[in-house]
Symmetry: C2
Subunit: 273 residues, 2 copies
């Protein structure tokens, strides 16, 4: 495995494509292998133990593709499984939480930070823990928003119903006078304008998908793992794998990514147990 090996990226489904998109933008020369666990999504409602088991299977699969680094592009999997995956791995494993927490703890002026995400992410308390490592003074207010993923997948991105739901969810956080809000689920960047509208201009929105791409670039540079640009990329630059329903994945991917993907391969991820 050399510097021109691909980066492995995985998520429970399509949400991680917002991370893949940022990596494509910020590291345009890197190759990527993406896996979406569409047969078993969502992870947000599953236990830590199950999320670890699923994530291990995926890491095993990605390693068969000789990846040089792995990005856990799923907040739930980062919250529940990142520590375990890191212990077991000889290549860098990066999650979506760390970089976002670092940025949020820096940009807040009143040390009051809100985090929205799936039930699993919020209940894990992972954002709170990492935010307090960066800045022990911060108060962190988490709010689980289980409806938002379905709203994104329904395509109601700019819709009064979606705004009403977000407004309902943010009500609690409003009373806490937060000045920074982490969009702690990979689907949520697609609701950025609705969040902006409801939260107002005074709240800084932090997008973990953007921040993790920045962190990935730093780590690759530091470990001298950045692509040297000499790779033969004909048709193989980006590869996409899913555990179910490749066609639907393709439709959603093409609505998010800057180019149309030609091929999504379906695999049985349970074979990697």
């Amino acid at each position: 495995m050399g510097v021109n090996a691909p980066i492995g990226v995985f998520d429970s489904g399509v949400g991680g494509l917002t991370v893949a998109r940022e990596i494509m933008r910020q590291l345009p020369d890197e190759r990527m292998v993406y896996f979406g666990d569409t047969a078993r999504l969502p992870y947000g409602t599953k236990s830590k133990e199950t999320v670890i088991r699923f994530s291990r299977q995926i890491v095993r699969f990605l390693k068969t593709k000789n990846v040089k680094a792995i990005v856990v592009a799923c907040n739930t999997a980062t919250a529940q499984a990142l520590e375990e995956l890191r212990k077991e791995s000889d290549i860098p494993v990066i999650g979506v939480i760390d970089a976002a927490a670092r940025v949020a703890s820096t940009v807040t002026r009143n040390d009051r930070i809100g985090v929205v995400g799936t039930t699993g992410t919020i209940e894990s308390g992972m954002y709170t823990r990492v935010l307090k490592e960066y800045n022990p003074r911060v108060q962190v207010y988490g709010k689980a928003c289980p409806l938002l993923v379905s709203l994104v997948e329904e395509g109601w991105l700019h819709d009064p119903v979606t705004e009403e739901v977000i407004s309902r969810y943010l009500k609690d956080l409003e009373y806490k006078s937060i000045d920074t809000l982490i969009l702690g689920c990979t689907h949520y960047p697609l609701l950025r304008s609705a969040f902006r509208k409801v939260a107002g201009e005074d709240v800084t929105l932090v997008n973990p998908a953007y921040e993790v791409a920045v962190e990935l670039k730093e780590i690759l540079d530091e470990k001298k793992l950045s692509c040297d640009g000499e790779v033969d990329q004909a048709g193989k630059k980006y590869e996409f794998f899913v555990s179910d329903a490749a066609e639907k994945f393709c439709d959603f991917a093409n609505s998010i990514l800057p180019y149309d993907i030609e091929r999504v391969q379906q695999i049985n991820i349970e074979d990697f147990d």
Copy 2:
């Protein structure tokens, strides 16, 4: 296996508990083993092939409990897998679609029937096929409502947002002048009053959970498999198994069932492959 063997009931998660509840009401002497595939829910977005594989594993598990009949308490699994499961099984396997279709095709006066359900159920066209078998003249209008399961699980059962979402979904059906609406997802009976409010008094709502319990009773009677009431039921009348997060399942079950369940056992369903 005798007449006092339990009935096996399964669903992708908690939705099938509305079916379990009806069986408890209508067949109060029968024992039951319930399995909820909480590690892999929802099934509604998964392919036919995957739903069949998951359902087969569950049937294998239920057979280790010596069930005398199996109720597929999940519309998606019924739509995608019932035929296969029946072919492979030596005991009665009953799905949630058939009985509801029979009733709907009888009660409609203008032969225009609407069906709401998950994307998987609606796209399978299973309701349409079965409805037309009972009454070839019916026009069937399906509408996938992916947001409703999340709204139920969020507990927003009597909520203006839920009514607005239902109203949005029913808009298409309204133009079709349906007089009968099948609530084709096991979560939906919990939204019955919201559906009633939006659809109005002139539309007959058909609840598959209720109808399948009626059908089960008929089949057990016909095959002389009904419980003779001499079973020792101390503590073992109803057993609940899940593939993940037993505690959350318990909370939801206790909000639906007529009694509080004491114990939910977690198993690794992939072991039954």
